[in-house]
Symmetry: C2
Subunit: 587 residues, 2 copies
């Protein structure tokens, strides 16, 4: 038993057994492709988080090893991720007054630890389901707003001007104020980088396909565009001595691997406000990181008829984040775009992550000196193109067409994220989603029914030509009954009683009732009493088994003036044939 | 049109037309019974609110006239109410440091105005439905806890000691500390009052029934017990000169009617905290007042096959509270117990309220001098017996048997109301109810179906002997699909795909799906894609009309790999007979 549990908690033990040469080759190739993608991305996302570039590299080492041991998705590419990086930047800017101070960097490390702790808690206490309360419109609105925030944060780098980046509108206004200081060479280099990053993958792919018929080779080589852009930009900088021309370069990056260490608490002044601010940011980062990583992992698992255990994923992401903290880096998550590339490159097991970590370690050891001359604007161009895909205009259009209320949740989440920052946007969006759900289900669809002539079917009298009887009101409610709609039901029944002065029976058709809570039961008692006072009987038809079991825990059926019928037709037949309550009822 | 609207807004204009001698006699008799009940109650509930006794009388004049003009329920008895009085006491104690100062009394008046304003807003903006979010367990827990708080607040009066009354536990501990100071004469008078108030109604009723056969006269005369208790207690005080013996008396009450005035803002130091504290208390008082008044009004209306318009009731209660403020009194609501007496005494129209107001005005003008010697302990006894009926032990037992989760909401509301006060209790209870609902509906009941041999019926394979086909997975979900359960559904389908390696078709039976939101639609897209990636087709069966209409607003049906079937049986027949997707599907 314990070994089964262990291999469930450490999936590595399971897949390592059947590891062979084929999977090794597949994983290694995928890891190579991902390493080439991850080098520029890790630097760019560290910059996005407002942190020194080497922290991006550090976030791409140990966390990947942790995921390889504990994670269960082969293609999932854990590491720096655009959304969690901008959330890190926002959290640090809100907590610490000055960027890149020692407390600022220490704060990022502690954020990674806290994020890891929350994710571990999700995994251990099986709280992963809580993320279900973040609805699709809220996620879409939030991610799209984040894309706008990320893009706007890079406009300054693109123009070669320094802007205030603590909130979206400050970025916009400070960019507008400084736009006349635009540094021409930087801007030109930026535009060239964008053009190259946009066009090169397609051109490379087309050229390679002329030489070989392998789509795999063509696709893989097209992924080298970002690293080619880096090499090209470094060459241009060196060739035209752009460093002394005022183009901002990445500068010195410490060579070698990070020293593992527990977080350094000293630089931070730990008052309650700091704690609260960092912890609430870490909670949101862990939720968003978990939601996006899980949906990516599930999508790839489905393609192989596998299943992902959400709690195990939370656990492995938790350990990955704690490893990031131990490495002195910032919060990590899975990047959907990198994971998709990894899947297409043939990644089979989480060993891909471990091999990628080896590639990144080699880069740390040998590549860093050559990164000195990498212009920051090229990384900004990389970020800009990467976030384009995050702004999900199609999902917005689809949601607008499908349901205006859901769209309003999307739109308000987006606007509040832009206006008040990520935390406000997300929390308001979730509350709005819940409010809309409650509002919608508090006004369920109800129908007065009549009999379709010569059949046993009963349909809405407003939509069909049906027979009715003045002494019988047939009523169907298309919703589970719970506190938010219990009084609505009571009210509608009171209305029916008032508008059908000759009625002696009300048959409530319960075929659409999937659940019933104590408030709804109380309303049924009230309805029964109100009908009794008005000289009418209450009957129930087509009650589902689990609902009947539940109602039987109370004495409602003994209190009820009428009968319980298996079908609405039986109720109708019984009550029209015999003025007195019949005996064929299933009571 | 405008006259119809006006009579809808001022129900008085409607019922006054058909007012005749019969209704006049019925209403007058009921008003007389209610006046006799209301005189002691109004004094007692003013004491409960921590305010001078005459304010209880003032709260029983103009607000009743306002309700007579705008309200639509004949028997509803608006005026001082135990629950809103204790809420007023709690609100004032939390906002102002010292009781019975001028700012304390001014605070009560402003609370009445604010409560009126909230209720008016409920009526005008049709927000009455918001009170539906207070579930039955929360109301029960809240009211029962309030009964305990009210009872404990009167223990000091009963023992003749002064206790701190700002929170339940302070009352308990301070009572325990001062219990040795118990004033013997006061306590004895209190016990006698309780015994009389408990026993006299039954004895009077039995005696009268020996003299006459009219239950109406017997019941009406038994309602005089409280006023007889008052007269008896006053006599005892005068006879034994208990005033100089240390028994606390009501003392001087100003004679005459209240002067109408706008609220006096001067005594209060209006900082933001004061505003927030009073406004949030007023909001809760208006919600609780509205919920209890409305449920009483609806119960009586149902007995006469009438219907109460909740928004109109909110409006009339709003104006009643503003009238209470204009009279210098505190928030009012309908008392369920008084309203029940009024109904039984034959009240037909809201004129009953107006006639009661006349009776109370006469009391203000001529009765007040005689109230000087009324001992406070008799009023305490009256309150204690009145709140006994509020502690709803039966509802607790019923909820416990019916559903433990609902009971936990009830229990936590009760405990938090006792521990942290009414606002905390109510707000936490509502949030807990919503959380429980979301949790419950995020794990809906699902079933894998098989065909009942030789029928067209499909049932849960775990409960019935049914036929299955290894190539077809039949799946039913018993819930409306929305964000909280959308990923649950995805996850279950992924599980099914992994556990049915031979399956080629998944038929989702949608007969229990009453609603679908954008998140659920997105999950359907994902499920369709996941199944496609796994080489399976997704089919839907028995989709309800409104759901189909909604899905058709998206391109899901074009994307879906399988077909749409009118019945699950048709799907099964089609997919088992023809390996390729058939053509009889209703697409």
């Amino acid at each position: 038993m314990s070994s089964i549990n262990l291999s469930k908690r450490v999936p590595f033990l399971k897949w390592a057994k059947s590891y062979n040469r084929t999977t090794f080759v597949a994983d290694s190739v995928a890891a190579m492709v991902i390493t080439i993608m991850l080098i520029p991305q890790s630097l760019a996302y560290a910059m996005l988080a407002g942190l020194p570039p080497q922290l991006g590299l550090y976030a791409s080492l140990l966390p990947l090893v942790a995921y390889a041991l504990l994670g269960s998705s082969g293609p999932l590419s854990v590491g720096p991720f655009a959304i969690t990086s901008i959330m890190t930047a926002t959290a640090l800017a809100a907590t610490f007054p000055e960027a890149l101070t020692s407390e600022y960097v220490a704060g990022a490390v502690i954020l990674a630890f806290m994020t890891g702790a929350f994710l571990l808690a999700f995994g251990i206490f099986r709280l992963g389901f809580l993320t279900n309360f973040i609805s699709f419109p809220v996620v879409t609105g939030f991610i799209s707003a984040s894309a706008i925030v990320i893009a706007s944060s890079q406009v300054g780098n693109l123009l070669g001007i320094s802007t205030n980046t603590s909130s979206f509108f400050e970025v916009i206004t400070s960019t507008a104020q400084h736009i006349h200081q635009t540094h021409f060479e930087t801007f030109l280099l930026g535009l060239c980088s964008i053009a190259f990053l946009y066009g090169a993958p397609k051109i490379i792919r087309a050229l390679v396909l002329k030489l070989t018929s392998s789509y795999f080779i063509a696709d893989s080589l097209s992924r080298t565009a970002p690293i080619l852009a880096m090499l090209g930009a470094i060459s241009v900088v060196l060739m035209f001595d752009l460093e002394h021309n005022g183009v901002v370069l990445l500068g010195d990056i410490p060579q070698g691997l990070p020293a593992l260490a527990l977080p350094n608490w000293q630089p931070i002044n730990w008052d309650f406000k700091t704690w609260k601010s960092l912890a609430s940011s870490a909670l949101l980062i862990s939720i968003i990181g978990f939601v996006s990583s899980l949906s990516a992992a599930q999508a790839f698992a489905a393609k192989q008829r596998q299943r992902i255990n959400p709690n195990q994923e939370a656990l492995s992401l938790g350990v990955a984040n704690i490893s990031a903290g131990l490495s002195g880096a910032f919060p990590v998550a899975a990047s959907l775009s990198r994971s998709a590339v990894s899947f297409n490159a043939g990644a089979k097991t989480p060993a891909t992550s471990a091999f990628t970590a080896i590639g990144m370690a080699v880069s740390c050891l040998f590549l860093t000196p050559y990164l000195y001359s990498l212009p920051v604007v090229t990384l900004a161009a990389l970020i800009l193109l990467a976030v384009l895909s995050l702004f999900d205009f199609n999902a917005m259009k689809r949601t607008w067409a499908f349901n205006r209320q859901d769209f309003s949740a999307l739109f308000i989440t987006m606007i509040l994220t832009l206006l008040n920052g990520v935390e406000w946007g997300l929390v308001s969006g979730v509350m709005l989603s819940i409010g809309l759900h409650l509002y919608r289900s508090s006004h369920p669809h109800v129908a007065i029914l009549g009999r379709v002539p010569a059949t046993e079917h009963f349909r809405n009298i407003d939509r069909h030509d049906v027979m009715t009887d003045p002494e019988i009101v047939s009523f169907r409610v298309d919703a589970s009954l719970y506190f938010a709609n219990a009084r609505f039901l009571e009210d509608r029944v009171n209305e029916l009683v008032a508008s059908h002065p000759k009625a002696k029976h009300l048959i409530l058709m319960c075929s659409a009732i999937n659940d019933i809570d104590a408030s709804a039961l109380e309303s049924l008692y009230d309805i029964n009493q109100h009908l009794k006072d008005a000289g009418m009987q209450l009957h129930l038809s087509e009650v589902k088994g689990p609902i009947l079991d539940r109602i039987k825990r109370s004495d409602f059926l003994e209190e009820m003036t009428g009968n319980l019928y298996l079908s609405h037709y039986l109720a109708w037949k019984d009550l029209t044939n015999q003025p007195m309550a019949g005996s064929i009822a299933d009571r």
